[in-house]
């Protein structure tokens, strides 16, 4: 696409949002609430239940749900948010909320009432909070566990799941050696898989970046603690993984499904998804929490928050829908469907892998809360650092120092 076309696309998009935005006009006496959710979130049947209950409680309203793809979501949000008819409810990834909250695009929901607010997962609450105000209501969480093949585990003669990183590394190496193929990984860990790799930084007490008293952000990856964590990570990779250094986690489920690995690190719900896609493995998959140097490894708490546009026309209805969806009743159902409920109060309602995940979520980390962190992400600073270490192109010391410099440049100049 030429630069002119792109300029055209941008300007056209900005001016014709009314045509493609969430038209929430109240024609014919009914009010339409437009709800934009993300792909692979709550099951369709659950959403239908919520909408049914919602329209019963609010006669004369209709709910129009649209499902967005994760790739390219930013453009799809920016366009209607700049227009006259923004969607009333938007599901945003928890790493997305901050920059939109800071820009003034979202409405403050802090003064409203929600179920289980006191026991919300702290990682999700923090992700939805900017300058003390709540812009994103915790919707569901997700963290990563180790998914493994029980049959291969037995073939290698291994016993109980490992509880320390050293045990994991030993088991993974044994699994790799029990298979003759040169491309078989004990634990398949691609180099650019940042949300799994950066956990190692927090495991040894390191941080990605911190804010000093003057409000400036400083990369902390070259501190000894963080370097130690990344060294542990690199050692695990070399001992257990034959994944390429230049790939991220896309397609990792297929690697396990097609028998090229005995373990992967992935979200808990993927146990079921892989079992469905590869039925011959359905009974052979299980999960355990990622072990750290001492106790479980801190996990990155991903997930989604529900937000409403500051310029939305139906903000009370939007609040009503959000509070219904994130209330005890439907969060319980979300948990039973394999997603992490937004509150620790529902731990007794979930079982299996979801319970493993919810337990892991009590020790979690989150990306630095700078409103410009997404710029660091877009510039692939973390992924480039990890790839350089995994491929051996740079030492841990050099790669982390370079990453800290880049973080300083990007967060320092962010206007």
């Amino acid at each position: 696409m030429s630069h002119r076309c792109r300029a055209a696309a941008l300007t056209l998009a900005l001016s014709t949002v009314a045509a493609c935005g969430g038209g929430s006009g109240g024609s014919g006496g009914t009010t339409q609430l437009s709800v934009w959710l993300m792909k692979d979130s709550a099951p369709d049947a659950l959403i239908a239940d919520v909408n049914h209950a919602f329209t019963a409680a609010h006669p004369g309203t209709r709910v129009k749900v649209q499902i967005l793809d994760w790739t390219g979501r930013d453009v799809k949000w920016k366009t209607p948010l700049a227009g006259d008819h923004p969607p009333d409810v938007m599901e945003m990834g928890n790493t997305d909320v901050l920059s939109y909250a800071a820009s003034g695009a979202l409405a403050d929901l802090g003064h409203r009432k929600f179920d289980n607010r006191a026991t919300w997962l702290t990682g999700l609450t923090e992700a939805g909070t900017y300058q003390g105000k709540l812009y994103g209501v915790p919707y569901y969480g997700g963290d990563r566990v180790v998914i493994y093949r029980k049959d291969l585990w037995q073939r290698a003669g291994l016993g109980a799941p490992p509880t320390t990183l050293a045990d994991l590394q030993r088991d993974a190496a044994a699994l790799r050696d029990s298979d003759g193929r040169a491309d078989f990984s004990g634990l398949y860990f691609p180099g650019r898989y940042q949300y799994a790799a950066l956990s190692f930084v927090y495991d040894t007490g390191g941080r990605i970046a911190t804010r000093s008293k003057d409000g400036h952000w400083h990369g902390q990856l070259s501190t000894p603690a963080a370097q130690q964590g990344l060294t542990n990570w690199a050692n695990l990779l070399h001992a257990a993984s034959r994944a390429p250094a230049d790939k991220d986690e896309t397609g990792i489920d297929d690697v396990l499904g097609q028998g090229h690995a005995a373990m992967i690190i992935a979200q808990g719900w993927q146990v079921k998804a892989i079992g469905t896609k590869y039925p011959q493995l359905a009974g052979q998959l299980d999960a355990f929490p990622m072990p750290g140097t001492a106790g479980p490894m801190p996990v990155f708490l991903g997930g989604s928050n529900l937000t409403t546009a500051a310029s939305g026309k139906h903000r009370d209805l939007a609040y009503a829908w959000i509070s219904l969806m994130t209330g005890t009743k439907y969060e319980t159902k979300l948990g039973q469907a394999g997603l992490l409920p937004n509150t620790t109060a529902l731990s007794s309602a979930v079982s299996g892998t979801t319970a493993v995940e919810l337990k892991a979520a009590t020790r979690s980390w989150f990306t630095p809360t700078s409103t410009h962190w997404s710029d660091v992400d877009n510039a692939s600073v973390m992924q480039d650092m990890l790839q350089a270490i995994a491929s051996g192109q740079k030492s841990v010391a050099t790669a982390t120092k370079d990453a800290d410099t880049r973080i300083g440049q990007i967060l320092g100049t962010g206007a």
Binding site: H3, A8, V75, P244, D246, D375, D384
Partner: protein, 316 residues
């Protein structure tokens, strides 16, 4: 590019309008006939470009966008861009990339055109069909297909290279270093550009009377000399057009990079198109991105002006 062709396209129409001066109703007709095209150009080219120029003097970040506020910042975006180290890394890299792609495209295009001309009918049919197919493939689909072909684990390239005994390339990562990633990008761009060049040059070859070559060969010229002394001078105008068009196209390369490397690894394959996209769409600095786009447009307009001048000299 449309803008570049506009003056030449408009000229015959105005001349005809002048000739019809005596018939009053006929005077409006050319303008009426031009109107749909003019409206199209205005709506899809002039207006967006004008908006882009206006944006380049505004701050226009995410907050400005959603609150619809306008903050004029004068030349600040331009000053920021010209002081940005990344811009001065990306600009020469883009130009170097374009130069390499254009040279290889013209070379491969010439080869294909000569082959088309000399090949037997079935071979010509096969080759031209292949060229047209490659050309008909949407750029972004082509990019995605190439990315998979060069995939380190599932790619057919590693398989073929290994089978052919060229290297032990199973699991070789083509996108591990910028140099290697650049090689793949050049292949993708050249692959997409060769068909147009080859078919244009083949068309040019068909207009050359064969007697010229026969005469040259009778005089004892080698194939190489005949090409440089007879064919190339006659095709020169076509080469000039193709070279300039290719420079314009390859300088603003975007989907081929975005759908394969996204500018990585280590930001090493970020070129102007990706740089603008990152600044504007990803980082919501629409003003800044517009300023870079304006600078790039000026650069390409300069090139187009050069192209028009050369064309005019050629026609004299």
């Amino acid at each position: 590019v449309t803008a570049v062709l506009e003056p030449t396209a408009a000229r015959p129409a105005t001349r005809r309008a002048a000739g019809n001066r005596r018939r009053p109703h006929g005077r409006a007709l050319p303008y009426l006939l031009l109107a749909p095209c003019a409206a199209g150009v205005l709506g899809t080219l002039v207006w967006p470009v004008a908006t882009m120029v206006v944006l380049s003097f505004q701050r226009e970040n995410l907050a400005d966008l959603v609150t619809r506020s306008t903050t004029w910042v004068g030349m600040a975006n331009y000053r920021h861009t010209l002081a940005d180290r990344m811009f001065w890394t990306v600009l020469p890299r883009t130009l170097g990339f374009a130069a390499a792609c254009v040279a290889l495209t013209l070379l491969a295009g010439t080869g294909c055109a000569l082959l088309l001309y000399h090949a037997s009918r079935p071979a010509r049919l096969a080759l031209s069909s292949a060229l047209v197919l490659a050309w008909a493939t949407p750029v972004f689909i082509g990019a995605v297909v190439w990315k998979w072909m060069f995939d380190s684990e599932f790619g057919v390239m590693n398989y073929l290279f290994t089978r052919a005994g060229a290297c032990e390339c199973r699991h070789h990562s083509w996108f591990l270093t910028p140099t290697s990633a650049f090689t793949v990008l050049v292949i993708i761009v050249v692959w997409g550009a060769v068909p147009f060049v080859a078919l244009s040059l083949y068309g040019g070859l068909l207009t050359i009377p064969p007697e010229l070559w026969e005469a040259a060969r009778v005089d004892g010229g080698s194939a190489w000399r005949v090409f440089w002394r007879v064919t190339f001078p006659l095709l020169r105008p076509i080469y000039v057009i193709l070279a300039v068009l290719s420079v314009v196209w390859d300088t603003k390369v975007f989907p081929q990079v975005w759908f394969t490397t996204r500018g990585g690894p280590y930001q090493g394959t970020v070129m102007l198109g990706v740089y603008i996209y990152n600044q504007g769409i990803n980082d919501s600095r629409f003003g800044n991105a517009s300023a870079i786009a304006v600078l790039m447009t000026l650069m390409l307009v300069g090139l187009s002006w050069f192209y028009l001048r050369v064309l005019r000299e050629e026609s004299r």
